[in-house]
Structure formats: structure tokens, C-alpha cells
């Protein structure tokens, strides 16, 4: 499903903010007018636009043991203890082209049956060789690069933040929601405040002070006035871009969004899938499902599964069908499977695309601890009713080149920014001419991929 709905609505949404910006600094027009006044006076999208859910596999997913070249002699030789082989019940994916111009036969990890079914239904694409030039093997730096989409720089704003800067000036605070304890840099705006919020549990997200009986104005209302939400003129409001102003803006965002989040969370509370995994990822994806079903206006959701830093005991003993990585992928598959099923039953799956990303893949050769050390390129998943799935994009790497080298790893051939662009342009309806604003630093091959 291609859609330009969001673009039109974004423009419509923007008009109020655009007028206000003639007289007020950017963050004030965001906070005072567009976020709050507009939210209560303009009709909401009603939650009909396209949605992208990004799931981070934190720690560096070993994608060679996820999308597995099980017939590749180099793979088998480099991983005498932890390789997955034909006898482990691999899930067939067929032939994928590699950068040598030949093919590798690939299979999905046996603990990913839901994803495999999605692949067979043509609703999941796999992009091989995703990375960036001069890969950095630090978790934090590499994630910074993925979040800023400006690798090998010290940029501080993020690609989602710039997407909103460019397409959604004056949008309300819940254009993006992250289920996490600290907000991803991907949401950071290049100026003003990003229309995004981050929390770990919608149930505890809101003003909680006790209301004494018999008062005419609720305490919450007074508090909103105190922090400048409901009045514009002030004798001493701080326009500086300092830490106090930042806290003020964050307070505005939090207070404004709390009501809508609470409402949607209640509206979407009835679950249609019974066996949601009771894991951190399972609970977070369930929360996202409730918010989508509850009619949130949100276009980007961000969730995390951590623990992929499998330096040791990636497989347990000599049984690759157990151990850390086996459990991680199983949790991932069941949680994402439940989310998709819930969205299908609710009739909203066709509005959703799910993309996975990890800060890097892992080395071809196993280390001394039945684990793998940090590597570079990875294979990622893109899922959705509108995805051209059941096929590979990008080229599988040349393992020989890497296995010989002790401290280097997989070459990339699809820049992650091209994957982001493909989703923004072909799914979220962002016009090509806006890409220069969202991606100030562009890779050499930046043509959108056809997976969507």
C-alpha cells in the first residue's frame, strides 16, 4: 500500500504552526499552539495513516546465525561449535545473490517459525549486507550512527527527528512513541522539540497528584498553567536553549501527550490474541498494539529487545538449538508473531510496516567462548501487508574475505540510510525532494529499494 495520506495531512497540520512561526520562536509555537490548542481544535487523523514500527535488536545480532548460509564451507569452518546446519531443522529461504555474483542457499533460524510463515506469505523481505562505510565496532557509536543517520560524524539530531522537522512541523507530541526508559537519539530534532514521547508503561504515564475535593480548578489544570501550557504571555519565560528550557519543553510534551496516550490505551485494551509472550519485548509490542488499536495518531513506534551481545554461550554447549541466541530469536519471533496476529485481527495490519535493525552484525569466526565478537554488516527484516516479501534485497557478503581476517568483518553493500529512505518515501509518502533535509549526508547508492 502506497500512501500519500500522511503527507497531505502533515501539510494540513502544519499550516497552523507555519502561521504562528512568524511571530514566535519555534519551540514556543510548538508547545503553546500546535501541540495543545491545535490538538483540541483540529480534527485528528483518527489513526488512518501509515505506521512504521522499528524494533531494535540491541547488542549486535549475529545475523549469520539468523539468516544462515548453512551450506557455505567457510561459515561451517569458521564456526565449528556454534554453526547451525541442515540437521537442525532450518527453515528454508531459498537462493540469495551474493557479492561474488553467485548465490548462497540461506535458511532462517529454526526458532523463527512465525517469521518464516510470513516470508512464505510474501509479507516479509530480507535485506542482506546492510551497513555503512568505515564500520565502527562500538555498540554506542554504531547505534549513534544508525540513529543520526550520519555515520562517522558527531551529529546529534536523529533521522526520525529530521523527518518530523521536514514533514510535520507543528505536529502534536505523539507523532512518535518509543517504549523505553531513555529516548533514542533517532527522535532528536535539529531544532525545537521533537514531536515524540518515550515511556516504559502507558499505565503509569500521567499526572498523579491527589485531587482534593471541592475545588473548582483541578490541580492538573493549575500545573499546566504553571509550566506555561495554557497561557502564552509571560514575564520571564526562558527562550534560551539551555537545560532548564529543555526540561520545560519536555514537561510540555509529557503533559500534553499523557491524555491522548491514556485514552488510546483504554480504547485498545481488549486483546484479540491470547498468548502474548510475557517478555519485555512481548509486553512492549502489546502496548504498541493497544495504542494503534486505540486510535493513536502516531506514525512511528520504536521498541527494543536487548541481549544480542553474545560474546559467550551464544549456543549452549554443543547444541545450537539452545542457548542465548536461540532464546532471543524465539522471543523475538513469538512477540512479533503475536503483534502481527493482533493487528491482523483488528484489521489494521495493512497500515503497518515493521523494520528490524541492530547496531551491527557479528564476526564470521566464533571466539573462544562459544560466542561471537562485534562485526559489521547484517541482514535485516522488513515486514508488512504492503511489503514485497518472500525475496531478498541486497547481496549476501563474501565470507571468505572476512574469515581470513582476525579483526575485520562482513562487507556491506546496502547502506542503512537507503533502507530508511525506502520506507519514508515508498511507505510514509515523503516526497523525494525532502530527502536532502532528512539525510544531509547521503550514501553513494541512495535509490529506494523496491521491497515496499
Amino acid at each position: 500500500m502506497k500512501s500519500n495520506i500522511s503527507r497531505r495531512d502533515f501539510v494540513k497540520k502544519s499550516s497552523w504552526g507555519a502561521a504562528a512561526s512568524l511571530t514566535l520562536p519555534a519551540f514556543l509555537q510548538n508547545t503553546f499552539f500546535s501541540l495543545d490548542a491545535r490538538a483540541s481544535t483540529l480534527p485528528s487523523l483518527g489513526g488512518n495513516g501509515p505506521i512504521t514500527i522499528i524494533i531494535e535488536m540491541g547488542g549486535g545480532n549475529d545475523s549469520l546465525n539468523t539468516v544462515i548460509p548453512f551450506q557455505n564451507e567457510i561459515y561451517l569452518g569458521a564456526r565449528p561449535n556454534i554453526s547451525l546446519r541442515e540437521e537442525h531443522g532450518l527453515l528454508d529461504l531459498g537462493q540469495a545473490s551474493n557479492i561474488l555474483g553467485t548465490t548462497d542457499t540461506l535458511a532462517l533460524h529454526p526458532n523463527m517459525t512465525n517469521l518464516h510463515q510470513l516470508w512464505q506469505e510474501g509479507q516479509m523481505a530480507i535485506v542482506n549486507g546492510v551497513g555503512y562505510p568505515n564500520p565502527n565496532l562500538s555498540h554506542f557509536t554504531s547505534f549513534d550512527y544508525l540513529h543520526t543517520a550520519m555515520p562517522n560524524t558527531n551529529a546529534i539530531d536523529g533521522w526520525v527527528g529530521r523527518y518530523f522537522d521536514s514533514q510535520c512541523s507543528g505536529c502534536d507530541a505523539t507523532q512518535a512513541i518509543e517504549l523505553a526508559r531513555t529516548q533514542t537519539r533517532a527522535f532528536a530534532s535539529s531544532g525545537g522539540v521533537s514531536p515524540s514521547v518515550t515511556f516504559s508503561d502507558p499505565d503509569s504515564y500521567g499526572w498523579k497528584a491527589l485531587e482534593t475535593t471541592g475545588r473548582d480548578v483541578p490541580l492538573e489544570q493549575l500545573y499546566r498553567e504553571l509550566v506555561g501550557l495554557d497561557h502564552i504571555v509571560d514575564d520571564g519565560i526562558d527562550l534560551k536553549n539551555d537545560a532548564l528550557s529543555y526540561v520545560q519543553r519536555s514537561t510540555h510534551n509529557a503533559m500534553i501527550s499523557a491524555r491522548t496516550v491514556h485514552e488510546a490505551n483504554e480504547n485498545g485494551a481488549e486483546l484479540l490474541v491470547e498468548d502474548w509472550p510475557d517478555t519485555s519485548l512481548g509486553r512492549d509490542l502489546q502496548r504498541i498494539a493497544r495504542l494503534i488499536k486505540g486510535g493513536m495518531d502516531t506514525s512511528i513506534y520504536y521498541a527494543h529487545q536487548n541481549g544480542y551481545d553474545t560474546h559467550n554461550n551464544q549456543t549452549s554447549g554443543d547444541n545450537p538449538l539452545s542457548g542465548k541466541h536461540f532464546n532471543l530469536l524465539g522471543n523475538f519471533d513469538q512477540s512479533v508473531g503475536a503483534l502481527i496476529q493482533e493487528l491482523k485481527l483488528a484489521g489494521v495490519w495493512d497500515r503497518v510496516v515493521i523494520m528490524t535493525i541492530s547496531e551491527f552484525g557479528r564476526k564470521v569466526i566464533e571466539n573462544g567462548s562459544s560466542g561471537t565478537d562485534h562485526g559489521a554488516a547484517e541482514s535485516i527484516f522488513v515486514m508488512g501487508g504492503g511489503v514485497q516479501g518472500g525475496q531478498f534485497y541486497g547481496d549476501f557478503p563474501d565470507l571468505a574475505e572476512d574469515a581470513r581476517v582476525k579483526r575485520d568483518s562482513l562487507d556491506f553493500n546496502v547502506d542503512f540510510r537507503t533502507v530508511y529512505r525506502s520506507i519514508l518515501q515508498n511507505w510514509m509518502g515523503v516526497p523525494p525532494e525532502s530527502m536532502a533535509d532528512i539525510f544531509p549526508l547521503q550514501p553513494s547508492n541512495f535509490s529506494p529499494l523496491s521491497f515496499i
Binding site: 565496532l137 562500538s138 555498540h139 554506542f140 557509536t141 546529534i156 539530531d157 518509543e178 523505553a180 526508559r181 531513555t182 529516548q183 533514542t184 537519539r185 532528536a188 514521547v197 518515550t198 515511556f199 516504559s200 508503561d201 503509569s204 504515564y205 499526572w207 498523579k208 497528584a209 491527589l210 482534593t212 471541592g214 475545588r215 493549575l222 500545573y223 498553567e225 504553571l226 509550566v227 509571560d234 514575564d235 520571564g236 539551555d242 537545560a243 532548564l244 529543555y246 526540561v247 520545560q248 519536555s250 514537561t251 510534551n253 509529557a254 503533559m255 499523557a258 536487548n306 560474546h311 559467550n312 571466539n367 573462544g368 567462548s369 560466542g371 565478537d373 562485534h374 579483526r407 575485520d408
Partner: protein, 510 residues
């Protein structure tokens, strides 16, 4: 070079600022005593009272189960309760220890973020206690051999917690696990732009090979009995770290372009690697930069840091307190943009609040629970780089959820509000404590509407002395107080006022 501060700059405001950054603020009387000290004996004496190594650790005994019942804890309380006890013990060191020792300890717990569950089984409790205990000795700087960053690194590299957190126990000669080698350079010493290469990561990993820990033998009668060869020999602590020489890589190495240590010997061991790193100015720069950001401001001048880093390495031999003394006696520390310009981190926010409220630290379970909801569990860092800085570039640390929790938190004490903490037993623990003394916060004679300016001044001076309210905010609060003081009894009006004031953005600043 830093510009020395002058005596004439010692005011209540500068004194409050110093006490807040080198500690966790204090009650009005504590703050007044501190101010008078610098007024009467001089600003240097005030600074020295904070930076002189002094700590009475007897006030912070290890949890009872760790020593008296069973060092391994298996005969003691449940694992959950033991986790609460460890976190409460840590928070008590921050709240009731020497203020600067607490502040440095908090820095170190973040800088060397170890995961409590990285150690296996019952060993984890002892390992975490030992690790925090080692860090607090360095934070206090009192005992011989503690207080400088280079020896600290050596102790960290030999700590059971770190050996398990960063996989040293499985890194062998010819079959390395690079985890510790990489984070040693990236996080602990040089910083990510510190000029090292992937080969340096490998060399560092090779040098720290073969570090192991002995097994813990459970004292529970029916428990599995380890072969004595796996247990620590007589005289060594249970489960202690040791060097397995068969797995140690002792080949000569090249590190940061050097093939010799500063002492002129070949680079073979982990200590040799540390010697090369600590001689490198990039290491001093990274640590000085990080300390400056923690104690002063987020964007230090590069020239200033380089100069201070050189003194940190050459003059102070990496001793932390003398470096901080220089900083606390500089004009730069008292710059108008610095005072009140930092966002409190989670522990700052809780302990400063308890100090200002003159309220005791909460019991173990409640302490653990409220820190969790503030996104700060000291024994489970979010990742090995620790917690996001309160004021990192892009301010990504502040999730809307954690912020709303902070905004709501004071009402737990002010209103006995049950809706904030999500754990009922934690709430019960807090509500069983003696209630807040509202008479002390606001004497009855101040509660007349006519005295509102004095009342609001008294409250804001107690809780947020460094960042003033805006006039419009005072007006709104006055109107509110006027209405509610006519409608409900005085305590209720005061409580509503406090809930609103303590929820203001100004209260997040220090």
C-alpha cells in the same frame, strides 16, 4: 588555566552551588553552617572540608546476611531482598556518607557499570558487594593505595564483577574475547575518539587473558560440593579472582604505537597495557572531560580540559580529589551559566529531596522500587556504558515517562499519595515512616495569606534555592493559595502548594 575564585565571591548562592555539586545539598541548617564555614575560615577551608579524604565507613556496614549469617547469602533472605539490601546500602553511602565520597562513588558506579547478573549463581551477591566496596574506597580516597584512577583501573580489572561482566573469564591466549579490551579503551580510559586502533583493542584483550574466579562453595549442607581444586586456597577470599598462567598471553605487544612501557620494559601484561594508556594524554583528557561534565557543565572548553588533564596526569598522578579541589576553587565552577544549569540525575533528585525535606532514606524495598521507576537501578545498568548522562548532547536521557514520574514523586510524601509507586509493599514501607513535619517546612505564622511572599520564598529556598520561580508562576500559586486557604484547612492548602511547586521544572535543576 583555571582562574582562581576569590573570597569575595563566597555567597550563600555559591555555597549552595558547591554543596549541591560536591554533594547532595542539605537542610537549611546544614547549608547555613557550610556557608558560615567559608565566610569565617575562607573559601579554601570550605572546599577542603569537602575534598579532604574523610569517611567513617562504620556507618555503612555490609548487609547483615553478607557477613554474619553467611558470606554467600544462601542462608539469608531471598535473592530479591538481598538485591534491595545492596541498593539500599549503596544509597545510604550516598545519603549518609561524606557528601563528596558519595558523589564520586555515583560517578564510578556509572563509569564502571557492571551487571549484577553477569556473575553466576550465588557468587553475584558477594561480587557486587566487593565491587561497590572497592569503588567506595577509591571514592573516599582515605586508605593508602586508593583514590587515584590508575590504581582504580587495576583493581577494576581484577574485580570478580568486571571479569564476569566483560567476559575476561573466557578470554584465553590465542583465543581472545575482545569485550574487556575494547571497553577498557573506549569507555574506561581513552574515550571513543582517543586515537586507538582495532589492533590496540586486540592487544589489550590479549594482555588481559586468563583471569578467572574461584568457585563459591555454598555452606548449605545438602548443596553441591565443588572439587577443592576449584576453590580459593587458604587465605584468599571465597570466589576470589586469580591468574590462570596457562591461559595468559605473555607475548610482547604493541600498544598505541609503543613497544615499551614508560618504564622501558616490554609490554606483555595487563598492567603494562594500563601503564601505556595512563601515560597517554588522551586518557587524562577523557577522564578530565568526563569529570568536568559530571561536576560542572556539559560543554567544557577543549583548551581548558587539555591543560587540566596535563595537571591531572603530571601533578596529581591521577588522584581524583586534588583535581576536584582545583575545579572547586576556580571561577569557572561558579560561572553564572553553571549554577543551576545542570539537570539532576535520578539519585541527585531523590537524595537532594530527602535532604531538603529532612526525611530519612526509605527502607530497602521502597528505595529499590522508586529508583527503578526513575530508571536508575545501580546494580542493573542499561548497558556497559552506564546511564545516559543527565545532560548529554541531545538530552536523550530524559524520557517523558521518567520525567512524569519525577513530577509525581513528591506527592508520595506530601499527600501520602498511593497512585505513584507501582509497588504496594513499597508504599506501605514509606507510609509507615514518621510523616513529613509540615510545621517545620512552613511555620503556622507564615501561612497567612498576607505572608504568602515569605511562605513561597521559604519553600523555594528549601527545595530549589538555585533556580528562581517566574513571577507569573508566583502569581498563579498565589491565586490558588488564596482560594484554597479559604476553602480547606491550612495543611491541605500547603500540601497543594508544595505538590505544585515541587513538580516545577526548576526542581529538576541543580
Amino acid at each position: 588555566m583555571l582562574t582562581p575564585v576569590t573570597q569575595s565571591q563566597w555567597t550563600r548562592r555559591t555555597a549552595d552551588h558547591l554543596l549541591q555539586r560536591a554533594g547532595f545539598g542539605g537542610s537549611p541548617s546544614t547549608r547555613e553552617t557550610f556557608y558560615q564555614l567559608g565566610l569565617q575560615q575562607g573559601i579554601e577551608a570550605a572546599v577542603d572540608s569537602l575534598v579532604e579524604p574523610s569517611e567513617n565507613w562504620d556507618q555503612h556496614p555490609w548487609p547483615e546476611w553478607s557477613t554474619e549469617i553467611d558470606p554467600n547469602g544462601e542462608l539469608g533472605p531471598s535473592t530479591g531482598e538481598r538485591r534491595y539490601d545492596i541498593v539500599r546500602w549503596y544509597m545510604n553511602m550516598l545519603r549518609n556518607g561524606q557528601p563528596l565520597a558519595g558523589k564520586i562513588l555515583k560517578f564510578l558506579v556509572d563509569h564502571f557499570a557492571v551487571n549484577h547478573d553477569a556473575s553466576r549463581g550465588e557468587a553475584r551477591f558477594m561480587n557486587t558487594l566487593r565491587f561497590f566496596d572497592m569503588l567506595r574506597k577509591h571514592a573516599a580516597g582515605k586508605e593508602e593505595g586508593y583514590g587515584s584512577f590508575d590504581t582504580l583501573l587495576n583493581h577494576v580489572s581484577w574485580s570478580e564483577s568486571m571479569i564476569w561482566t566483560l567476559d575476561m573469564y573466557e578470554s584465553k591466549a590465542n583465543n581472545i574475547n575482545e569485550n574487556f579490551g575494547r571497553e577498557l579503551l573506549e569507555l574506561f580510559t581513552l574515550g571513543v575518539n582517543g586515537g586507538y586502533t582495532e589492533d590496540d583493542v586486540g592487544a589489550a584483550a590479549e594482555a588481559f587473558t586468563g583471569r578467572k574466579t574461584y568457585r563459591h562453595q555454598s555452606p548449605v549442607p545438602d548443596s553441591y560440593q565443588w572439587d577443592p581444586k576449584y576453590l580459593a586456597p587458604e587465605g584468599m577470599p571465597r570466589g576470589a579472582a586469580y591468574q590462570n598462567e596457562n591461559q595468559q598471553d605473555l607475548l610482547p605487544k604493541v600498544m598505541l604505537g609503543q613497544s615499551k612501557t614508560p618504564g622501558g620494559s616490554r609490554i606483555t601484561t595487563g598492567d603494562d597495557i594500563l601503564a601505556v594508556i595512563f601515560a597517554d594524554i588522551e586518557c587524562a583528557k577523557h577522564l578530565t572531560w568526563k569529570l568536568w561534565r559530571y561536576f560542572v557543565s556539559s560543554n567544557p572548553d577543549a583548551v581548558l580540559i587539555e591543560d587540566l588533564a596535563t595537571r591531572f596526569r603530571d601533578e596529581h598522578k591521577y588522584e581524583i580529589r586534588p583535581l576536584l579541589r582545583e575545579i572547586f576553587l576556580s571561577q569557572e565552577f561558579y560561572d553564572a551559566s553553571v549554577i543551576g544549569g545542570q539537570i539532576k540525575d535520578a539519585a541527585d533528585s531523590v537524595i537532594t529531596f530527602f535532604n531538603a525535606l529532612e526525611f530519612d532514606l526509605t527502607p530497602p524495598r521502597a528505595t529499590y522500587n522508586l529508583l527503578e521507576q526513575l530508571n536508575y537501578n545501580p546494580i542493573y545498568p542499561p548497558n556497559i556504558s552506564g546511564w545516559a548522562e543527565p545532560e548529554s548532547e541531545g538530552n536523550e536521557w530524559m524520557s517523558s515517562g521518567a520525567l512524569l514520574f519525577r513530577i509525581n514523586l513528591p506527592s508520595v510524601w506530601i499527600q501520602q499519595n498511593r497512585n505513584v509507586l507501582n509497588d504496594s509493599r513499597s508504599r506501605d514501607e514509606i507510609f509507615a515512616m514518621p510523616p513529613v513535619d509540615f510545621e517545620k517546612l512552613a511555620p503556622p505564622e507564615l501561612r497567612d495569606l498576607d505572608n504568602f511572599p515569605m511562605l513561597i520564598a521559604k519553600l523555594t529556598d528549601r527545595f530549589m534555592p538555585l533556580v528562581p520561580l517566574r513571577k507569573s508562576q508566583v502569581r498563579i500559586l498565589y491565586d490558588q493559595y488564596k482560594k484554597s486557604s479559604q476553602r480547606i484547612d491550612d495543611d491541605e492548602a500547603l500540601k497543594e502548594l508544595l505538590v505544585l511547586v515541587l513538580a516545577l521544572p526548576q526542581n529538576q535543576m541543580q
